[in-house]
C-alpha cells in the first residue's frame, strides 16, 4: 500500500498496479451502523473495500474529518446518517445536512472530484439499501482512481 505523502514527495506519479480503492465510511451509531450490521447478519454481499468509523450522530461530522482522511490516503468518503425526522437526538441530521450540502459545493468549486464524496440516509432496517449504497459508492471511487493522482501537481509550464 502506498502512503499518499510518500507518493507526493518521492515518486510522484507511481501508483501500484494492483490498486484497490479504500473508502472510509462514517456511520451514525443509531441507524446506518445498525443498518450495516443488518446487511451482515442478512448475509448480503457488498464490495469490501470500505472501512467503517462509528460516530454518535451524523451531526458529529466535521468536514475536517473528511479532508484528513483524503490527505492520509483514503480514496473516497461516505457519510451516512438517519433519515430526516428519525434522528436519535431529534435534529442532528438536519444540521448535518446543511453542512454537507455547503461543504460539497465548496469542494466542487475547488475542482475536487465529487465521485469521491458521498452522503446517504440509511436506517437500521435498511440492510439492502446499505449494500446497494456501498456498491454504488465504491464503483464511483474506482472510476475516480487513486487519490494520490489528485494531490500531485503539474509544474506550471512556462
Amino acid at each position: 500500500m502506498s502512503l499518499p505523502s510518500e507518493v507526493i514527495e518521492e515518486n510522484k506519479n507511481e501508483i501500484k498496479k494492483d490498486w484497490q480503492p479504500k473508502v472510509i465510511a462514517f456511520l451514525c451509531n443509531w441507524c446506518s451502523y445498525a443498518g450495516a450490521d443488518l446487511a451482515g447478519t442478512s448475509r448480503l454481499r457488498y464490495d469490501s473495500h470500505i472501512e467503517i468509523i462509528r460516530v454518535p450522530c451524523s451531526g458529529r461530522m466535521d468536514p475536517l474529518f473528511i479532508l484528513k482522511c483524503l490527505e492520509k490516503g483514503a480514496d473516497g468518503i461516505l457519510v451516512s446518517g438517519c433519515h430526516p425526522g428519525d434522528c436519535h437526538y431529534a435534529t442532528g441530521n438536519y444540521y448535518a445536512r446543511r453542512k454537507f450540502a455547503t461543504f460539497r459545493k465548496l469542494l466542487e468549486f475547488c475542482g475536487f472530484d465529487l465521485r469521491r464524496i458521498h452522503f446517504s440516509w440509511v436506517s437500521a432496517a435498511e440492510g439492502a439499501k446499505w449494500s446497494k449504497v456501498v456498491n454504488e459508492v465504491i464503483s464511483q471511487v474506482r472510476e475516480a482512481g487513486p487519490i494520490a493522482n489528485m494531490y500531485s501537481r503539474r509544474e506550471n509550464q512556462l
Binding site: I8, L106, F109, F112, S120, R153
Partner: protein
C-alpha cells in the same frame, strides 16, 4: 478645525460613556523616493484630548472590528468603534454569535463612498458592489467628508474611462469559468504558494477562535508545514468556517503578502448560501446563524 467626528468622540470619552475608541489615525512614514507618505493606521484612543488625531477619509481601509474580540479590548467595559457599512456587517455577525454585546458597543457609523485600494487600483475591490454606503446599524452617524466624495467621483471616472478591471472579481470569474480539473490545478498552484503566515486568519474579524485548529498539534489536524496537502486543507477549512459568516470585507486578500485569491472561495460560498438558503450574513443581529438553524425542506437531492 475640529470635525464632527472629533467632537462626538471627545464627548464620549469626556462623559465616560466609553473608555476606548477604536479609530483611524493618520501617520507620516518615511520613504526614500518622493515626499513623505501619509498612511492611515488603526489607533486606540483612551483620553479625550487624543481624539484630535482621529480622521475619516477614503484611505481608511482597515476593518477595525478585528480588534473587538481581542483580550485587550474586551477588558474595557464599553468601547466605541468607527465602522463603515462593510465593517458593521462583521460587527453584526459578532453580535449574532454572542462574541460581543450590542449594549457594550457604540458604533460610530461612517457613510462611505468607497475607499481607495492600496495597490495599483484607485478604488478598493470590495467597493464596487457595495450596498451599504450608509450603514444599517449605528449609534452615531458621521457623514462622508465632502472631500472624499469629490475625490472618489474623480476616481470613479478614471475607473470607468480606463475600463479598470476589478482584480478580485476577475480572479473569481476566471476560477468560476474553469472546468473542474483546471480549477483543482489552479487551487493547488495558488495554495502551494501560501507560506502560512496566518495574516488572513489574524486580520479576519470573524476568525476569533482562541485556539485555531491549525495550531493544534496533538492530534494534528492540519499540518503546519507550508506544503501542499496541508495548505489546501487549511484554505478549504478556512473557507468552510467562514461559510454563511464571511461578510466580504476583503481584509484577508488585502493582508495576504503572497496575493493569493483568498476571497474567491468566500465569495463563492456566499453565493451558494444565498442561492440555497436565501441567507445573507451580517444584515440582522437577531437572526439565527446559518449552521445553527435548519429548515425541514432544505436541499437534499445529493444524499443517497
Amino acid at each position: 478645525m475640529i470635525t464632527l467626528l472629533q467632537a462626538k468622540t471627545w464627548e464620549l470619552l469626556q462623559q465616560k460613556e466609553v473608555s476606548l475608541i477604536l479609530g483611524y489615525g493618520e501617520f507620516s512614514r518615511k520613504i526614500n523616493n518622493g515626499p513623505e507618505q501619509r498612511i492611515i493606521s488603526p489607533i486606540f484612543i483612551t483620553k479625550p484630548e487624543e481624539t484630535s488625531s482621529l480622521v475619516w477619509n477614503d484611505r481608511c481601509v482597515f476593518n477595525l472590528s478585528t480588534y473587538l474580540t481581542g483580550k485587550e479590548v474586551k477588558a474595557h467595559h464599553k468601547v466605541a468603534i468607527m465602522a463603515k457599512g462593510c465593517d458593521i456587517k462583521s460587527i453584526c455577525v459578532l453580535i449574532q454569535e454572542n462574541q460581543i454585546k450590542r449594549e457594550d458597543l457604540i458604533i460610530i457609523g461612517l457613510t462611505c463612498q468607497g475607499v481607495i485600494g492600496d495597490k495599483e487600483r484607485p478604488k478598493a475591490e470590495k467597493c464596487d458592489s457595495c450596498q451599504l454606503k450608509t450603514p444599517h446599524i449605528y449609534d452615531i452617524l458621521i457623514d462622508s467628508a465632502e472631500a472624499q466624495t469629490k475625490k472618489l467621483n474623480q476616481v470613479e471616472k478614471k475607473v470607468e474611462s480606463k475600463n479598470c478591471v476589478n482584480p478580485v472579481q476577475e480572479k473569481f470569474d476566471r476560477m468560476d469559468k474553469m472546468n473542474p480539473q483546471d480549477r483543482w490545478q489552479y487551487c493547488l498552484d495558488q495554495f502551494s504558494k501560501c507560506i502560512r503566515c496566518y495574516a488572513c486568519r489574524q486580520v479576519c474579524p470573524l476568525c476569533y477562535c482562541e485556539k485555531c485548529i491549525t495550531d493544534k498539534s496533538t492530534p494534528q489536524w492540519i499540518e503546519k508545514s507550508p506544503l501542499l496537502p496541508g495548505n489546501l486543507s487549511f484554505h478549504i477549512m478556512r473557507a468552510f468556517h467562514l461559510t454563511g459568516r464571511c461578510v466580504d470585507c476583503g481584509e484577508c486578500e488585502r493582508a495576504c503578502p503572497m496575493n493569493l485569491p483568498l476571497t474567491t472561495l468566500n465569495k463563492k460560498m456566499a453565493q451558494v448560501v444565498k442561492d440555497m438558503y436565501h441567507y445573507e450574513s451580517g444584515l440582522k443581529t437577531d437572526e439565527e446563524p446559518l449552521f445553527g438553524s435548519f429548515q425541514l425542506e432544505d436541499e437534499e437531492s445529493f444524499i443517497k
